[in-house]
């Protein structure tokens, strides 16, 4: 049973879903508020859930990346604490410079809600390890097109930082990228929502692995 911090910003809207998912697999979630710093050593892992922090004003994730709580998140990242950003959480981690690249508008310029199949490229020590290959989970995003300049992309590839790719690219992401990790492999970002695939009645329960093996 691990203690997992769940970071909430104004406008986060998948917070309760992630909280529930973590509880479901037997870990202990705890809220972290955007205005407060926290004691990093108290948490064995952190999740930044999806949503529309600050209504996506300026750029998705840009304002949240400057919130006080992110100082502690950065500190945790440096100390090797496993951190997962989902959807808007992924955007925030990119904007905070904790993950490479940016997420721009989907290729078709429209929000997309659909199920996708994912291929695991680089198994991480946390967030499902190697259990998540070929998993099917839903996406729901408007700014989900992952982008990197060719040179940076090569570097990211060489350092095995591509975590997961789409089986069928829904949004125009470079190299079909659905999720990336940092150089140390402790910070990860993913556009699809594993917390929405926790029971067969949701359409799939393959999201449980992400939270079980933290």
């Amino acid at each position: 049973m691990k203690r997992v911090g769940v970071v909430r910003f104004l406008g986060t809207n998948c917070d309760r879903d992630v909280f529930k998912a973590i509880e479901q697999v037997g870990h202990t979630p705890e809220w972290l508020w955007y205005e407060d710093s926290f004691e990093v050593s108290k948490y064995e892992a952190l999740v930044i859930p999806g949503g529309f922090s600050y209504g996506d004003y300026l750029r998705s994730g840009a304002l949240a990346a400057k919130a006080p709580v992110m100082n502690s998140v950065s500190e945790a990242a440096k100390k090797g604490v496993p951190i997962l950003g989902i959807c808007n959480g992924f955007q925030i981690l990119c904007e905070a410079g904790l993950l490479p690249g940016v997420l721009i508008k989907n290729e078709g310029l429209r929000f997309i809600d659909q199920w996708v199949k994912l291929n695991l490229q680089t198994p991480l020590k946390s967030w499902g390890g190697s259990e998540i290959d070929k998993c099917e989970i839903p996406i729901a995003h408007g700014d989900g097109c992952y982008f990197l300049e060719p040179e940076s992309l090569k570097k990211v590839m060489d350092q095995d930082q591509i975590w997961m790719t789409y089986d069928k690219n829904p949004n125009g992401s470079v190299a079909d990228i659905a999720g990336v990790t940092n150089k140390n492999k402790n910070v990860a970002g993913l556009m699809p929502h594993p917390e929405r695939a926790m029971w067969d009645w949701m359409g799939s329960s393959s999201g449980t692995n992400f939270f079980e093996f933290i």
């Binding site: 879903d17 529930k20 996506d56 949701m202």
Partner: protein
């Protein structure tokens, strides 16, 4: 005299209504009073043309905790769970400014739900657009869908169901109806809007007031003319981020019991909230308009009263709770300003710079509001015939392809794939299915279906009204759900025309009869009249939202065939035979034969539900628009074909005719006996069931009539949208 005429036009009041105001006040209205009467006596706020008939609705049973008196209806689900739901129109704003109009429609209906103290957990949308070739239509469709998506996705409430219709009668007046449902857990109380407790404080929370939406309510109560473009400043601007903060903060202050009464600022803004809270609570309130937080300091008192700026609430709290209340709103980065207090006198007193500018007794205004019993004729069933004309389908394959090519027959996933259908992590069935299903914390399932088929309304308003309740109830029963209650959104043309009013009365009576028969009361709703542009009226469209409950998540059949080799059955309760939606594609006049027997339908729905609950049905679907062939085709969406052999006596016409009511179910061959035993026990007049074929294969085959490759049909079906709306593909 000249200035009186000008005022009447500006405030959209009639001369007769002016005389009533003079009687009510004992003098001529002055200053902001004009604006107050204009707003509160508008069709939108006062229901002056519909009230007489809305009273007829079957609206109460032992489950109903609130119906019509408050912002939304509430029903008790047992097990200490309740839900609030309602549907509302945003037609006029959406035509003038599609994106903002549709977005604020979603915002408004959500506020109606969380004002009651319920957490919004599901959205639905019922849309009617004009022809794709109509000049502005692609722009309007695009704007409306983006507006709904931008708002709903950002606040984080899943879209679980919807319906979209197309017809030329909506070319100049589209319909945008939003449905929302909220959940109350064991500890959550229903909040109401009646002000009470002399000395309690009136608190303004949420976004600041701007000039947007001034006179919105009276604009929505008017027909369109060439000048519609100039009405843009009366459109409200929405901010879903603020709404999200408002949801969380309001639910939190309610949880801590800091709120005595609460009302959102919707149509006619501060005016209607203040007057309604006062009238409902039978107390007065004072309001200092200069204390209202403003976005633009040049706003006049009248504009402040009538602004329809979004994401605002008015609430009453005890003075000793104010600090804690403010703290919670500040936590969510929102302002909470005291703007007045509850008074012992019955009057609403409005102040500007500490000077009283208006003092009116709201009950007097509400009680003396005009009520019109508009002229209407008894319903004549003029399209009813004794012998139905044949559709004369000579080439069924071609007719079928033409249906898929038509906008009505096209796949609509372009629309719903732009909506977040799964936030909340409780969606068990999304918009791709006929019933949207949300899982409750008690692990019971809630089913939501929207109804009203405009082509049936064009055929007959009485049958169309009943069908707006029965068709969704059949869809629910086919998934094992019991329909519990209904909300409606009555979209009609000009009520001052007796043919429109006749359709209104016939459909309302039809709906009510259907609701009573299945014991599902109408608990909330909204009326939108004057959907008329330059004397053309829309198809009368009484849309509905029907909510059903199922005690477990097990055995909910899907819409799609799930495996090959299953047996396909047609269940038929032959009451009304119609040419159906196909007659519009084939350019035939609508006709029908027979009548609906509400008692028999109710019994049949009960049998269907029982069958689905007790026999493992794999997939099920109500036969809907375009009849049997189209409905079976829709079940093949996962690539499993159908091999159909129609029973003796069926012919090509029967593939496209529609019979109220029919359903398709499939079952594994090993369960054949148990299904037939169940069906043999149904002893109802005009009920028959027929084994019609098997699932499987890669073609769509109806022996002797249609034999087409499934892949080709699927392509036609999914490409049809893009072919109709080239710019939206």
């Amino acid at each position: 005299m000249q200035s009186l005429k000008k005022n009447l036009k500006h405030y959209r009041l009639s001369e007769k209504e002016y005389e009533k105001i003079v009687t009510c006040l004992g003098r001529a209205p002055k200053g902001v009073e004009w604006a107050i009467f204009s707003a509160l006596w508008s069709e939108h706020c006062s229901y002056k043309s519909s009230k007489v008939h809305l009273k007829k609705f079957y609206s109460k049973n032992e489950r109903v905790k609130e119906s019509f008196g408050e912002n939304a209806g509430v029903i008790d689900l047992g097990d200490e769970e309740s839900v609030a739901f309602k549907m509302e129109s945003h037609n006029h704003p959406s035509f003038i400014s599609p994106h903002q109009g549709a977005a604020t429609g979603v915002g408004g209906i959500l506020r109606d739900i969380f004002t009651m103290g319920a957490r919004p957990i599901a959205l639905g949308n019922y849309l009617c657009f004009g022809e794709a070739t109509e000049k502005h239509m692609p722009h309007i469709v695009d704007g409306v869908v983006r507006g709904i998506a931008d708002y709903g996705n950002c606040v984080g409430v899943p879209m679980v169901t919807g319906q979209t219709e197309f017809h030329k009668s909506y070319n100049q007046n589209v319909l945008v109806n939003a449905f929302a449902l909220g959940y109350f857990g064991p500890e959550q109380k229903v909040c109401t809007s009646g002000a009470h407790g002399v000395g309690n404080l009136v608190v303004y929370v949420g976004a600041k007031t701007g000039r947007d939406g001034v006179h919105g309510a009276s604009m929505a109560s008017e027909s369109f003319d060439d000048d519609s473009e100039s009405k843009k400043p009366t459109i409200q601007i929405g901010d879903p981020f603020y709404e999200k903060l408002l949801i969380e903060s309001c639910l939190e202050v309610m949880k801590h019991n800091l709120v005595e009464a609460i009302q959102d600022m919707g149509a006619a803004g501060l005016t209607s909230s203040a007057f309604e809270m006062s009238a409902k609570g039978q107390v007065g309130v004072s309001m200092h308009l200069d204390k209202v937080p403003l976005r633009d300091s040049s706003l006049t008192p009248e504009e402040i009263l009538l602004s329809e700026s979004q994401e605002r609430m008015l609430l009453i709290c005890r003075p000793e709770n104010l600090d804690q209340l403010k703290k919670i709103f500040h936590h969510w980065s929102l302002d909470a300003e005291v703007v007045g207090e509850v008074l012992p006198t019955p009057n609403v007193d409005l102040y500007w710079d500490n000077k009283i500018i208006c003092s009116l007794d709201p009950s007097a205004i509400v009680d003396s509001a005009p009520i019109y019993n508009r002229a209407y004729e008894p319903w004549e069933f003029k399209n009813k015939v004794t012998d139905l004309t044949k559709l004369h389908v000579e080439d069924p394959e071609n007719t079928f392809k033409n249906i898929l090519k038509s906008l009505m027959g096209a796949e609509k996933s372009w629309i719903y794939n732009q909506y977040d259908q799964r936030v909340g992590a409780a969606t068990a069935r999304d918009c791709s299915e006929s019933v949207g299903v949300v899982v409750l914390p008690s692990k019971r399932a809630l089913g939501i279906v929207l109804g009203c088929r405009p082509y049936l309304m064009r055929m007959d308003a009485s049958i169309g009204g009943m069908d707006a309740v029965f068709h969704p109830s059949l869809q629910l029963a086919l998934k094992g759900f019991t329909a519990l209650a209904v909300t409606d959104c009555l979209n009609f043309g000009n009520p001052e025309k007796s043919n429109i009013m006749s359709e209104f009365v016939a459909s309302v009576e039809g709906m009510s009869e259907a609701c009573e028969a299945i014991d599902a009361p109408v608990i909330s709703g909204n009326v939108s009249f004057y959907n008329e542009t330059k004397t053309t009226n829309i198809t009368s469209t009484p849309s509905t939202g029907v909510v059903g409950l199922k005690s477990s998540l097990n055995n909910i059949p899907t819409d799609q065939f799930k495996s090959s080799g299953e047996l396909i059955y047609l269940l038929k309760l032959d009451q009304v035979k119609t040419l159906g939606a196909a007659c519009e594609v084939l350019n035939r006049a609508p006709q029908f034969k027979g009548e609906l027997d509400v008692k028999v339908i109710n019994e049949w729905l009960g049998f269907i539900r029982k069958t689905v609950q007790e026999v493992p049905i794999s997939s099920s679907k109500a036969v809907g628009k375009f009849g049997l062939a189209y409905s079976i085709f829709r079940m093949t969406s996962e690539g499993i074909g159908a091999q159909i052999k129609l029973p003796v006596g069926f012919e090509a016409n029967d593939l496209f005719n529609e019979t109220l009511y029919q359903a398709i179910v499939t079952i594994s061959p090993s369960e054949k006996q148990s299904l037939e035993t169940m069906l043999n026990n149904i002893n109802l007049k005009n009920f028959t069931y027929h084994f019609v074929g098997e699932t499987g294969g890669d073609d769509f085959k109806i022996e002797g009539l249609i034999d087409l490759k499934l892949k080709d049909l699927k392509n036609k079906y999914s490409n049809s949208w893009g072919k109709n709306f080239e710019t939206l593909a």
